[in-house]
Amino acid sequence: MDPLFQALVDLGQPATMLTLVLSVAIGLVIGAIPGLSVNIAVALAVPLTIFMPTTQALVLLIGLYGSGIFGGSVSAILLNAPGTPASAATIFDGFPMAQQGLATKALRISLIASLYGAVFSVVLLILVAPELANFALGFGPVEIASLLLFTFFVIGILSGASLAKGLLSAAVGMVLATVGSDPMLGTPRFTFGQTALMDGLTYVPLLVGLFALAEILEEASRGFSQRIGKVSLSGEDREANRITGKDMKFIAFPMVRASAVGSAIGILPGIGATIASFLAYGDAKRSARDSSRFGKGDLRGVAASESANNAVVGATFIPTLALGIPGDAVTAILLGALVLQGVTPGPLIFVMNPGIVYTIYLTLLFSTLLMAIIGFIAVRPLAMTLRIPKIYLMPCVALVCIAGAYVARNNIVDVWVMFGAGLLGFVFNRTGVPVAPLLITFIITRPFEEALRQALTRSEGSFMPFLTNPVTLTLAALVAVFFVLALRRDLSRRKTPASSLSSEGTNHG
């Protein structure tokens, strides 16, 4: 029998379909819980798959992975607490939209963008996986370091309301990223003898603290006053939350660009969905004709971030299948699960096990469609969360944050990191220092340092490889242009101080 047909038949089994529905639904919920990331969900599901048929095992794991990323945007939009790190950039416009009574609309935009990004990358995976994978292999430390430096400029410089405060925030993020063992020598740095800090400050607790806990503290300092007039659904105009053809046209171009960015980043080793969504967000803001609404509830911000992070999902399967090298932590777990099934992943998987490859393709597509269906049904009930009075809702969120920070590594140190980050975020919000640059530099610094030092070790300290590399030169030229533009913008803003005051009110942009 034709392997494609066989894969379809296997997927059509009632038990497999049921597994798919359940895993997509569970993935949405776990993704939406701040601190519980997709990685944990997929990893914990692996032991369950040992005694399952291969198709069912794949369906379970892939279903969790795909829907978990969309789930992350739900809490980002509703609670200012990204459910997964990849949804951090969704906060910038998603949460302001929710505060303006447009929660349902933000969730729908997120769903459409997620669907688009996911399908975009799966189509790439099916059509050109081997070609793209081999192209991506050519990206060595020199190219990766240049790309990360470029990312830093695109999103770091452009996202701050004031250059000085933006740089302050970015500097703090960079310092925090140096905690942990030296990437080349393994020597501990700023760990104060704590083995738990050898891997650096754990990312999920830091993120949860900076956004969710800071928001809870902010609310607490206002006595959980009900600004709910703005937020409640009763005051929410159904009409305002409808997605119109004009909206679709408005987000179409940013969505295509962001899906391309997400796919490109997803193929490259060691960068990941979080950086992809930030980069796509920065790109959407930079390329927009009128970017003044970004950070205050622009549809395009939500669309860009969510289509990029979902595009990463399909794209990480490109090196995973074509080369047998996992594209990220989740696909690594997936390959491990395949090994337990007695399937050896590798470049020959297309020849040896075409059935497995088709099953993965089909599961990615089906789970995306299911995610869309379940998502559309769930959007309104989810938005109801905002009807719960803050005095009850916020303590529950705080509890979930604490549990989530602990569960990330079963380590109490991470809970303290979250509390520290929460206080820091609170102080930043109060003083008008944007939190985003801190987060961005924190994420980028470590892979950047690694790539830079790998490149310099190879060249024995010479920067010549950077000066002769076409990728590097192109990116450097772009960075120079952006830098001058940002500087000019900041200088012109300084001449008209009134406008800068109003834009400093938005802390997350």
Binding site: N39, I40, V42, A43, L44, V46, P47, I50, L137, G138, F139, G140, P141, S181, D182, P183, M184, L185, G186, T187, P188, F192, G193, Q194, T195, A196, M198, D199, P269, G270, P319, L323, G324, I325, P326, A329, A332, I333, G336, A337, V339, L340, Q341, G342, T344, P345, G346, P347, L348, R409, N410, N411, I412, V413, E450, Q454, T457, R458, E460
Partner: protein, 330 residues
């Protein structure tokens, strides 16, 4: 410093509370019996190789134990976080660590750790994973002789990718370079997979992968498998070992169970005999062969000796100045 001390105390207390929730430890005479769930601590994230091995062992051994076997992940710092935890845990036979890899034989030789191999006591070795040195197809480095020759012509020119500083991959290359009297450049990556990607992209000249991966990549014509770092592996029987090529290298990734050093012999013997029954079982054999795991039993004391021999050979290579930047950084 005091902060570090208190935090360490907190960690210790946590370890104790994990280890001692129910009644007092049972009598230490011949009739040792577990009195509460046995925790099997894994120093790596769920879903990884070590985690999988642990879960295979636990699920096939459960039927031989009167108490639940619980796999607990305490990932961090190349597995040393968990090793430290178990080394300082209550030695009552209810806390075990999956050991035998980087955290046991390699890392403590490279940097200061809050535990040493002596603070852990072997229960049994379950399996060993061979490590295979691979180079890119078409690079001309199709044998160990070619590598050594090239390295001697251009000292410090050839670079190897590792899974991270101080890990067992890094150490294997150090021992080999020291034995061969050559100078290789070390480029660490975040795990073995990125290192393999770097090899295929031509950014490093060699790296180490598992025999299963090596077989798959060789079949696809992407890499040369030049040698294993211990003895021949059954998945790739044609690939010679470094020792038969005349280099005294024996480094590999072992997996087994260890307990805190003070654990009474009665307890470790009880555990050993039951886990041994498990790895001899039909269930384990089926699962292990599917998952490319090569069972290789050793008793507790034999496992201890195997680990300390490996650790000593790595220590000797480090003293031999195979990696000067490393030793000066200490």
């Amino acid at each position: 410093m005091t902060i570090a001390m208190t935090k360490r105390a907190v960690l210790g207390a946590l370890a104790c509370s994990l280890a001692a929730t129910a009644g007092p430890a049972t009598a230490q005479d011949a009739g040792w019996e577990p009195s509460k769930p046995i925790q099997i601590i894994v120093g790596f994230a769920p879903g990884g190789g070590t985690d999988q091995t642990a879960r295979l062992i636990a699920s096939s051994a459960q039927e031989f134990f009167p108490v639940p076997l619980v796999v607990v992940n305490r990932p961090g710092a190349s597995g040393t976080l968990a090793a430290e935890l178990v080394a300082k845990a209550e030695p009552d036979g209810h806390t075990l660590l999956v050991a035998g890899g980087s955290e046991s034989t390699s890392v403590p030789n490279h940097r200061e750790t809050n535990y040493s191999l002596d603070q852990l006591k072997g229960v049994l070795r379950v399996n060993r994973e061979h490590m295979v040195i691979v180079t890119k197809k078409g690079s001309g480095l199709d044998s160990i002789e070619a590598i050594v020759e090239r390295a001697k012509e251009n000292p410090g020119e050839l670079a190897y990718g590792s899974s991270g500083p101080a890990g067992v991959l890094h150490s294997a290359f150090l021992v080999f370079a020291n034995e061969a009297g050559i100078d290789l450049k070390h480029i660490p990556y975040q795990g073995g997979s990125p290192a393999l990607a770097a090899l295929l992209g031509g950014h490093v000249d060699m790296t180490i992968i598992t025999p299963g991966d090596a077989a798959a990549q060789v079949a696809a014509g992407t890499v040369n498998a030049v040698a294993t770092t211990s003895d021949r592996a059954e998945q790739i029987p044609d690939v010679p070992s470094l020792s038969e090529l005349g280099y005294d290298v024996n480094v590999e990734n072992m997996k087994g169970l260890v307990a805190p050093a003070g654990t009474p012999d009665e307890a470790t013997e009880y555990l050993r005999s039951r886990f041994k029954q498990a790895i001899d079982s039909e269930t384990f054999a089926t699962l292990a062969s599917r998952a490319n795991i090569t069972p290789s039993y050793l008793s507790g004391p034999e496992f201890d000796k195997a680990m300390s021999d490996m650790s000593n050979s790595i220590a000797a290579a480090l003293e031999g100045g195979a990696d000067e930047s490393e030793s000066s950084a200490q």
